[in-house]
């Protein structure tokens, strides 16, 4: 039988590759793994299509996310791109802001870089739980408005929000610093036991239960009151 490709017998079929090809391929591989991890997390956590904010549930989701991303070699650009992908909804079938934020937080906390910058101002949706359990030595900068429970469980890291947050900012934080350039919502600092929250804009409401830590507004200490009085 004749070989209809005879004319290409001598053609050297090595592909010419430039670094761009490697970069794009590596990126797609990593993004694929990360997206897969997120989808798996959501499917595990949101079996009933309802996701309630309970401490145990949040922690469970976070631990599950950590386990998933352990083997993935990603960087901060991948995290930002995941935000875009989740917002776009193309490859990712569902956005559930809670688990999404927890997953992103796990990625940030586990990333190689000490300083991570996420540009979120173009996104249509807001993420909750960003900065969850941010550890000491890590700085996370969020550009744009974000959702609820930002900086929840902050554990010594530095979280800077160049925008406004939703409700429960700094909830349950233990140590570290939370800077918010614009406004916050209700229950700011709820159940926090340490650390500092600095707000440059309006505070819609401070939580009734605050166990420790300090809250500043426009550079002025507003909580705890007794310290305020002393100062």
């Amino acid at each position: 039988m004749i070989n209809p490709f005879e004319d290409f017998k001598e053609y050297p079929y090595k592909k010419k590759e430039i670094p761009l090809d490697h970069i794009v391929r590596a990126k797609e591989r990593v993004m694929g793994q990360i997206v897969e991890g997120y989808v798996k997390l959501v499917e595990e956590e949101v079996k009933d299509l309802v996701w309630l904010v309970e401490n145990s549930r949040v922690f469970k989701a976070y631990s599950s996310a950590l386990r998933t991303i352990q083997q993935v070699d990603y960087d901060s650009d991948d995290i930002e791109e995941l935000c875009l992908e989740i917002d776009k909804g193309g490859k990712i079938p569902y956005l559930i802001s809670g688990p999404a934020g927890i997953y992103l937080s796990a990625l940030c906390n586990n990333a190689k870089e000490e300083r991570i910058h996420l540009r979120l101002h173009e996104l249509k949706r807001t993420f909750h739980f960003l900065g969850y359990r941010l550890p000491e030595g890590k700085t996370l900068v969020l550009e744009g408005d974000v959702g609820d429970f930002i900086g929840a469980g902050l554990s010594g890291g530095k979280l800077i929000v160049k925008g406004s947050t939703g409700n429960w900012a700094g909830a349950g934080m233990m140590d570290g610093e939370l800077f918010i350039n614009e406004h916050t919502g209700q229950n700011t600092g709820g159940w926090m036991s340490g650390g500092e929250i600095h707000i440059d804009g309006r505070i819609r409401g401070i939580a009734k239960t605050i166990l420790g830590g300090r809250i500043y507004q426009r550079g002025k200490l507003i909580l705890p009151h007794d310290m305020t009085a002393r100062e």
Partner: protein, 522 residues
């Protein structure tokens, strides 16, 4: 020098006589250059014959070397000859363009401009093709073919006129191919009197679309095979080409049906030459034509009507053609092509290789014109699905599948074009030039695609314009992924040769076709 040393420099020896024979020594060195490119033959040219030590055991190879030298000389000479013939063909083109078929160049090939009708007519005459020439009445469709025929086949114009068949419904086989010799028929003998059309290598059919389909088919069959049969007799043309003209659709015309039109290699339009050239044409004396020669025409006719064996007649015809050609050269400085030269051209043309890009590009075109993801191949009676993945490719815009005649036409014409330009190989440029003219008549476009393009500003007739647009589209896609396609083809070769390789994937019908070829075999 010892023999051992010799062997490093001279892989084989010379006869003893070579030491005294400068010419053979030079021959030896020339052959060594061919046989051993890395040898030191250049240094040897200055050495005296007596300084060489020969190996007498290898003396028997001397003749071979001399022979090899002759081959080399011949090849060098052939190149020169080839160049001369090429120039002759260009001169013919130039002569017709400047004196007989005045028209504007309408295409560029590299740095040169050509008139498409004239160029393709010339290529058709040279490579035994079949050309369909369309155009408005009176714009030189038939005359362009007549001039080209006359000059490439050394035939006087009057003879060509006499051999033409004009298309009308009442044409009969007897008028086209041959008739019984009536006198002999009355005596009970079946002897065929062949028409000029059947006998001469040039076949010109005017307004072929006015012939009934049976007659169209009869002519095309004859030209396809070179065989013309009537009653129980057959003549076989060794050399032939067909020029058929057709007006646009008008009252009283039939259409050329798809199976018939597919047999044409190329379609061209004979255009209006523009206002200024039209006036120049109008000022010429219509009866003055240097290609006419009543004397020779009569001689030709006498031979053609002789009741002789066809092969003998053709030998005499060729002799007369050569005499006519010489006469034209002497009297009018008009050079024509002899049979030998035409054969040489065809031999040269056939040898011209397609480069890899031309090859791959052509495969890409064929893939888009024959592929169907859903039904395995394009078929006229099967319709595309909405939302097919391959909607962006040509297979979505056409109804029919391209025939196998198409790549043959492309190859022949692109090789001829490369030869004419003096290029060593056929490249994408040649393929791109030739493609629209080999495709325009073979594609049946879908109505919605036609509707979208009908309003476009253009210079070509609609069919040819669509074909050019199509070629540009495929060219763009090829340009983007040429390396990938060539890689895919190379991998396919290796896979079919037994290597364990997976076919390369890609988003184009060509990859699917390659995959299918490999699957069928595995």
């Amino acid at each position: 020098m010892s023999v051992a040393d010799d062997s490093a420099l001279y892989p084989s020896g010379l006869p003893v006589c070579a030491r005294r024979c400068e010419k053979i020594l030079q021959t030896y060195i020339a052959v060594t250059r061919i046989a051993c490119p890395g040898s030191t033959w250049r240094r040897d040219l200055g050495r005296r014959p007596q300084d060489f030590v020969v190996n007498p055991f290898l003396a028997c190879y001397a003749e071979e070397y001399v022979e090899a030298h002759k081959i080399e000389e011949k090849a060098r000479g052939k190149d020169m000859e080839d160049g001369n013939i090429r120039q002759k063909v260009r001169d013919i083109y130039g002569f017709i363009q400047d004196n007989l078929y005045l028209n504007r160049p309408d295409m560029r090939v590299g740095e040169e401009s050509f008139n498409s009708a004239l160029l393709f007519s010339l290529l058709t005459a040279l490579n035994r093709g079949k050309e369909l020439i369309i155009g408005e009445p009176g714009l030189g469709k038939t005359t362009s073919a007549e001039y080209v025929a006359a000059m490439t086949y050394q035939l006087p114009l009057g003879l060509i006129w006499a051999s033409e068949v004009s298309g009308h419904p009442e044409q009969t086989e007897e008028k086209i191919i041959g008739r019984p010799d009536l006198g002999r028929l009355n005596q009970g003998e079946e002897v065929v009197v062949w028409s000029y059309l059947a006998q001469l290598p040039i076949k010109i059919v005017d307004e072929i679309n006015r012939l009934p389909e049976t007659k169209q088919s009869m002519i095309l069959d004859g030209v396809d095979r070179g065989n013309w049969g009537y009653l129980n007799d057959v003549i076989i043309n060794e050399e032939y080409c067909l020029f058929a003209t057709a007006n646009y659709q008008d009252r009283g015309t039939n259409t050329l049906i798809a199976p018939l039109i597919d047999r044409f290699d190329v379609i061209v339009e004979s255009r209006h030459p523009g206002t200024n050239l039209a006036l120049v044409i109008g000022m010429k004396d219509r009866y003055e034509n240097v290609l006419r020669s009543p004397v020779y025409e009569r001689d030709f006719q006498e031979i053609l009507v002789e009741p002789r064996d066809y092969q003998e007649k053709m030998k005499r015809i060729e002799d007369l053609c050569d005499r006519f050609g010489d006469h034209m050269e002497k009297e009018f400085s008009v050079k024509m092509l002899s049979q030998g030269e035409r054969k040489e051209i065809r031999d040269c043309v056939q040898e011209i290789p397609l480069d890899l890009d031309a090859n791959a590009f052509l495969r890409t075109v064929i893939a888009e014109l024959s592929f169907c993801f859903k039904y395995g191949q394009k078929r006229s009676d099967e319709h595309c699905e909405e939302g097919c993945h391959y909607t962006g490719f040509l297979c979505h815009h056409i109804k029919n599948c391209i025939s196998n005649r198409f790549p043959m036409s492309v190859r022949t014409y692109s090789q001829s074009l490369a030869w004419l330009k003096g290029d060593e190989g056929v490249g994408i440029e040649h393929i791109k030039t030739v493609l629209p003219y080999t495709l325009a008549h073979r594609l049946q476009w879908k109505e919605d695609y036609i509707a979208q393009k009908q309003g476009d500003t253009r210079r070509d007739p609609f069919q040819i314009y669509l074909a050019k647009e199509m070629v540009n589209e495929v060219y763009r896609r090829y340009n983007e992924q040429s390396r990938h396609i060539k890689n895919a083809l190379a991998v396919a070769y290796q896979a079919l040769s037994g290597k364990d390789l997976e076919p390369i994937e890609g988003d184009h019908p060509i990859y699917a076709e390659i995959k299918q070829d490999l699957e069928e075999v595995r």
